[in-house]
């Protein structure tokens, strides 16, 4: 029963809103963005209809995820085992390559992080460019004010797609590593989270969905997606730019990067893109059903 309570998320280091990450985000905002922090905690943002939907959505979708979505998803172990057996079947068993434990863990951590980030980029981009997928992803982009819980304002079908992506990427990468290097594969972790995910989460992942315009500067933003760059992604003008999660190299290589610094002076106007301007009611039912039935308002 306790699993169904999304309250758990605050104490799970693998969750975006783990209390440590939130505290760090608050800390950064408090030190550098006092004015923006005031806005973030203003009634106008905190009690906006969009924000109220985020709070409700967070609770309801958390229950849905545990009750319906996760049981539907095939496990990473099953994918890993299936791929390991197929690799052995088609390419033959090979005596494992001996490398030092440090190199093995470090390379697995980096490869898993990079491939996972790349796959997130492409799935995210597809959510924008394939009309049927965009219908579902619009739920996330319909947010008109941002807060860390907006991260969870994602249609259940999108949850399933991202869950499958995770299972496939982790399963295939792990299987390839087992095939070549045998047992002993694991990512370098800190407090139970992938060290790289942990580091990025500590330096402001929660500010991505906020009104705190933290930029990393022109040079760094070519390599890493800053909170400001993701905020631009949520604006009505730059909706179809900056699809990356942690790394900006995918956006740069595939021509969708917009730097945050240059645009930071502009007012961030969040919501659906201008072309699709429509009255959003921010209802829970609308968020769930609008992608299926056009007549129901988002």
């Amino acid at each position: 029963m306790f699993d169904y309570l999304t309250f758990d998320y605050f104490f799970d280091v693998n969750q975006r809103i783990y209390y440590g990450y939130v505290m760090m985000a608050f800390f950064i905002a408090f030190v550098f963005f006092r004015k923006s922090l005031k806005k973030q905690f203003s009634r106008e943002v905190l009690w906006h209809k969009s924000a109220r939907l985020d709070y409700l959505y967070f609770i309801v979708s958390g229950v849905l995820k545990v009750a319906i979505i996760l049981p539907l998803l095939i496990g990473v172990n099953e994918v890993t085992l299936w791929v390991v057996l197929r690799l052995n079947e088609y390419f033959g068993y090979i005596s494992r390559i001996r490398v030092s434990k440090e190199i093995l863990l470090l390379s697995y951590t980096l490869v898993l992080f990079a491939v996972s980030d790349l796959s997130r980029y492409w799935l995210h981009r597809l959510m924008h460019s394939v009309p049927i997928l965009w219908r579902f992803h619009r739920v996330h982009h319909s947010a008109e004010v941002l807060n860390p819980l907006t991260f969870y304002r994602v249609h259940p079908l999108e949850n399933i797609l991202f869950g499958l992506r995770y299972v496939l990427v982790t399963g295939v990468i792990t299987a390839i590593y087992i095939y070549f290097f045998g047992a002993g594969i694991r990512a370098v972790e800190f407090l139970g989270a992938n060290i790289l995910v942990f580091v990025f989460s500590m330096i402001g992942s929660n500010l991505r969905h906020s009104h705190i315009p933290l930029s990393y500067g022109v040079k760094l933003e070519k390599w890493f997606i800053s909170p400001l760059q993701h905020q631009l992604h949520h604006t009505k003008i730059y909706t179809h730019r900056n699809f990356g999660s942690y790394l900006a190299i995918w956006d740069r290589w595939f021509g969708t990067l917009t730097l945050g610094k240059a645009k930071s002076s502009k007012i961030l106007d969040f919501g659906l893109p201008i072309k699709e301007r429509e009255r959003v009611t921010h209802s829970l039912l609308g968020a769930f059903l609008n992608p299926f039935i056009k007549g129901i308002k988002l």
């Binding site: 998320y9 799970d12 280091v13 693998n14 969750q15 975006r16 440590g20 505290m23 760090m24 800390f27 950064i28 030190v31 550098f32 995820k65 979505i69 996760l70 998803l73 496990g75 990473v76 172990n77 890993t80 085992l81 390991v84 057996l85 068993y93 005596s95 494992r96 434990k101 997130r120 995210h124 959510m127 992803h137 991260f151 969870y152 994602v154 999108e158 949850n159 399933i160 991202f162 869950g163 995770y166 982790t170 399963g171 792990t174 087992i178 045998g182 047992a183 002993g184 594969i185 694991r186 972790e189 800190f190 407090l191 139970g192 995910v197 500590m202 330096i203 991505r208 500067g217 999660s245």
Partner: protein
């Protein structure tokens, strides 16, 4: 600005982790499921003592006995003595296979890394023909040129050829051993002494080593890797290749490819390997990998592995004739296919245990968009 950010972040990190309790201390994952904190070093000590050292010691004792027997011969050998030597050889291969199946010494001592290759030419020294080498030396006039059989006399395969030739009968073998001033017997003494010396090194390592029990996570990884590799060797090289089940020899069964074709003892070797796996993964009177894994949440897969081993040993028990009798160019005994399939399943379950231990649970953060 950047300096200020760095300082503030550092302070924040310190404050944040200063508040983290011991509950958050992460100490890695173990291999076969469960919580590494419950790992007891004595499980590994038990494996080292009851399996690794015990098997190596038995091999050393075997070889010592054979050495004594060989040195006791003062005149031509009788048929009974030849037969007795051949029985001793079965003991040697049974114990050697047990040592080889769970050979982990190579992971800890680089000097022992190539030991199995030195001691066993099967499928590892195909470019070198033991029989040709021995026959060549035996055919030379004059006293025995031991330097020319240096490589051969390090191997169990060499001992096999010296004792069985090409499936010679007892009488034929007796004649071969007794001819030419018992040159064959001299080479045999040399080979047994060499293998004995190597077995002593392995025994000494397992007796004195402390690395095996010092790093639980690494040792568990090594053990599982060794079991997986051994299962592969058993399935592909010792059964599949001869029976024509693998890609390389598909539909081309040839009994000559079996490991102990000359002595017709391939089945005994297979049984010894399975018994070695059972020592590690079966229910035993001492603590082993199975008892450890079961008590750490991997009971289901352990039971599947135990069933595989029992089934495979039961199939081995069904054979009333040497394995090679079941392999002809025209057909392969269905029992061999069943054995092959059971070992395939065993390998799959080893992989499953290995993967389960990685604790790759569905990660909800990855199931959300951005």
């Amino acid at each position: 600005m950047i300096q200020k950010l760095a300082k503030s972040t550092l302070l924040g990190v310190v404050l944040f982790f200063g508040g983290c309790g011991g509950d958050n201390a992460y100490d890695g994952t173990n291999l076969v499921g469960g919580n590494p904190s419950s790992v007891q070093g004595d499980v590994l000590a038990s494996i080292q003592k009851n399996i690794l050292l015990n098997n190596a010691t038995t091999l050393v004792e075997n070889l010592n006995e054979v050495q004594s027997t060989l040195n006791s011969f003062e005149q031509n050998l009788s048929s009974a003595e030849v037969q007795s030597l051949q029985s001793d050889f079965v003991n040697i291969i049974e114990n050697w296979k047990k040592v080889e199946a769970i050979y982990v010494a190579s992971e800890y001592d680089s000097a022992l890394r190539t030991m199995p290759i030195n001691m066993d030419f099967f499928n590892k020294g195909k470019n070198f023909d033991v029989a040709t080498n021995i026959d060549y030396v035996l055919g030379l006039n004059g006293s025995l040129q031991t330097a020319q059989v240096k490589k051969t006399t390090k191997t169990v395969t060499g001992i096999e050829y010296l004792l069985f030739a090409n499936q010679a009968s007892i009488e034929e073998m007796k004649a071969l051993i007794n001819q030419d001033s018992q040159k064959r017997l001299e080479i045999m003494k040399l080979a047994v002494a060499n293998v004995y010396d190597n077995a002593l090194l392995i025994q000494a390592f397992y007796k004195e080593d402390v690395k095996f029990i010092s790093n639980v996570e690494d040792t568990l990884n090594i053990l599982v890797n060794t079991l997986v590799q051994s299962t592969f060797d058993l399935r592909e090289l010792r059964i599949g290749e001869a029976a024509g089940f693998i890609f390389k020899t598909k539909d081309d069964p040839k009994a000559e490819r079996l490991e102990y074709f000359r002595s017709k003892k391939s089945l005994e070797a297979i049984k010894a390997i399975l018994l070695a796996h059972q020592e590690v993964m079966g229910q035993q009177s001492f603590e082993n990998l199975a008892s450890f894994a079961s008590s750490n949440g991997a009971d289901a897969v352990v039971k599947k592995i135990q069933a595989n081993l029992s089934n495979a040993l039961a199939i081995v028990g069904e054979f009333s004739t040497p394995l090679q009798n079941g392999i002809t160019p025209a057909s392969v005994d269905t029992k061999i296919k069943r054995l092959y399939d059971e070992i395939t399943d065993l390998q799959k379950n080893y992989f499953e245990s290995l993967i389960n231990a990685l604790e790759l649970t569905p990660d909800i953060i990855e199931a959300d968009g951005d």
